[in-house]
Symmetry: C2
Subunit: 178 residues, 2 copies
């Protein structure tokens, strides 16, 4: 029971297209009753598409909560019944037009474990074959080709702030040791 | 106007202790009207407390949305009117008992920019001086001392999944080049 919290009740406050919001009552290890706000999210994937010259295909996309365009790696939300690898290959194709010869897991990322159940599955895609973007009707983004080393420098200088992009690109750098 | 989305209306659905939830209507660049679910969060900080032998002070803490204990770096939510550096020094002291001689920014992290306004400010704390933990009444956590190199290996093996912990420790490794 040390560190654990026991759920006493759970109420759904909002059931949206992207998130569900719950407020729970939970009992702490000292017997105190606290409220917990919990966002439920279907989870997503992100992909580092690396070409044969160590360029990463990245995307520029308007991020509504910040009211600005961010530079990120391709990513997307999982659809019902979809597994992470299928979702990753689909998002890679939709956002960059590419297929790939190898698709390797870079592990999982929990963006905000204090109050949100989202899990992002990270992948490294190599052996890229170009094609045509196939975006959803309400999706607008621009693809940018950026050398991996340059992207890592941008992260270190604070010019790339998205969490999945920082984690997946830094892991790629350490994994490939270049 | 390319890539941009124009807010037409915004309705607050929930006003909680940790998050606020809004549903907005926005107009895309092709004139289509879409709904946007937006979580607003006060933002937070995380700290890499690094001792003179390259050990990181980490914390084990129950994370309610995952119903399990995670290993993370110390972190916390900003309080009203607090600046990120003050918040970071306060959280370092509360969670580990330590003060520090140097406190350097590692940049910002946007955990989930698609639907959440949270910003996490990352810091590297060095020249640590030990003291006594000073937790909130409803806060339970254990401090663990882990060599930086070992923590990086745990990230690469998928044993540390928290986003801020991955990003801040990998940045620390690259920054210090060790």
């Amino acid at each position: 029971m040390h560190l654990e919290e026991k759920t006493l009740s759970s109420e759904m406050i909002f059931d949206g297209r992207v998130v569900k919001l719950f407020t729970d009552k939970a009992e702490l290890e000292n017997g105190e009753i606290v409220s917990r706000e919990v966002i439920k999210h279907p989870g997503g994937v992100c992909i580092v598409p690396l070409d044969s010259e160590d360029n990463v295909l990245m995307v520029r996309q308007f991020r509504y909560p910040f009211q600005k365009v961010l530079l990120e790696i391709p990513a997307g939300k999982m659809e019902f019944g979809e597994n992470p690898e299928e979702c990753g290959l689909r998002e890679l194709r939709e956002e960059t037009g590419c297929t790939c010869d190898s698709f390797v897991s870079l592990g999982r990322l929990l963006p905000t474990p204090a109050y949100d159940s989202e899990i992002i599955h990270m992948y490294l895609a190599a052996g890229l074959h170009g094609g045509t973007q196939d975006l959803d009707d309400d999706e607008f983004l621009e693809v940018k080709k950026i050398p991996l080393q340059k992207a890592v420098e941008m992260i270190m200088k604070g010019e790339i702030e998205d969490a999945k992009t920082q984690a997946a690109l830094l892991k790629t750098k350490l994994l490939l040791n270049r």
